[in-house]
Symmetry: C2
Subunit: 320 residues, 2 copies
Amino acid sequence: MRIGLDMMGGDFAPTEAVKGVKLYLDTVASDVHLVLIGDEQQLAPLIAEAQLDQSKYSVVHSSQVIGMDEHPTKALKEKPQSSISIGFHLLKNEKIDAFISAGNTGAMMVGTYYSIKAIEGVQRPTISTLVPRENGTYGLLLDVGINADCKPENLAQFALLGSLYSKHILGVPDPKVGLLNIGEEEGKGNLLAQATYPLLKESKQINFVGNIEGRDILSEKADVIVCEGFTGNIVLKMAESFHEIALRRNIQDDYMKKFDSESYGGTPVLGVSKPVIIGHGISKGTAFKNMIQLSQQMIESKLLEKIKESFVVVAKDAQQ
Amino acid sequence: MRIGLDMMGGDFAPTEAVKGVKLYLDTVASDVHLVLIGDEQQLAPLIAEAQLDQSKYSVVHSSQVIGMDEHPTKALKEKPQSSISIGFHLLKNEKIDAFISAGNTGAMMVGTYYSIKAIEGVQRPTISTLVPRENGTYGLLLDVGINADCKPENLAQFALLGSLYSKHILGVPDPKVGLLNIGEEEGKGNLLAQATYPLLKESKQINFVGNIEGRDILSEKADVIVCEGFTGNIVLKMAESFHEIALRRNIQDDYMKKFDSESYGGTPVLGVSKPVIIGHGISKGTAFKNMIQLSQQMIESKLLEKIKESFVVVAKDAQQ
């Protein structure tokens, strides 16, 4: 198993990326081979200092970097030697089995769309966030930003993608799916939510439990919460701001600490045919380590095969 | 000045409503006359116990109550002797100058639409929530639930209504208006946000400062944040859940305490021709007191006259 890591992506690259690799190799036993994509000259002293096991990694040189604020399509076109461009090239040509970056999110999305395909039947790939709950488990909220406007069918697909992720990666046997809404009863909400409810109710592939209000996002009422990416992104960033406020105000609380994006690393792009994981720009060592581990889990659990099988059913149902 | 209060609305009525009246009369000097609408038999012993100043209030008997979960339109039709029905009757006939209830929100909204008119030029009346900031001031977020689907023009009107409220009630001289969105630059967001941005930018009646992301809702970047009621309601309820979690986990922090709905009482229905204030179902004494005080402020500041004047300008601009 070969996992590719963009060593130049994120606010603290490449130092923290190397730290993440070290942490992963030191703490996780696996036969994963890491492909470190980045500037050889910058990486060499950091790798030497970290004393990485040479049998566990190889370095692929990249001479360019896509900045965090560059225009995604333009940057990918003009910088074929960037770590992100090379990463997708390797992924497309099966030189690596997964690709991770904490770099320019837009470039990662565009790269994903251009280099690898959506799984057959998936209308819109999606990104999610883990939702920490007080009982120590994690819920999943999706979409959190790449699909700002959605149709009911998109949300129904997010529900299925999220359920499979919750089951195979988070270990929830029969994930409860909730529709983010502004009232509990069927018929409540905006036009999108009203039209989505019956689709979720009728689906035999998910365990739909009804509407979930804003006050229940952090509860255990649902394991998978679906919404369009506009609301999902606002919720995600507001939760992050609560975490920052808690830090700034020196609030010592184990639960509040779990909102730290560092603890879960990054989000996979769900619905595409290969594992792509996008990290937060502020990722540090632990986040990189967690993203490598998540890639490994996605490959070992055969999540993408399971998504493919489920969407064959979706495609068949659509034809009937 | 006569302010009408539904004594039967809310989870802890009439006990907490009477406490609120007592608190108001004891702590706020004013020539307000309170009209207490409720069941005389239930109110009498509570009022006697509270030793209210008899010159400051009168009781209007109501023999029916609209429950928190009743269907709004049906309940208002079938219960003409309910405290909410009587309250709107008094407001319509100028027996009171403002009406407050912590009862059935739907019934309050329907009652408002049927009994008193929207201000000329206002397409959609709206409700808002105060947003506590760490520096002790309050921002305003609107709409928070009654307009789940909006057009760009609606959001532009919320911006103006919110600005006037921020200026005349919250005392912010030139309120900064932000558009809730999922990116900072113009052109970001869903179709609604993309179409709303230029309207806000062009408006001469507001001080537009651009897009506001989820992480900045609690900051001082904007004093008035506009969005459709779906996202606004999710944000509001999620913030309330953070407050509940902080309470449950015994987190002692002055800022977190400010998310208690008790501290600001209720939301006025903005855009209608008379002051109507809707309280949270869980309102207790302080919330009732604060709602009475807010009604008084709305009348004394002549907020509604100012809204009327501003919307004459809107109507004229629309004709040109």
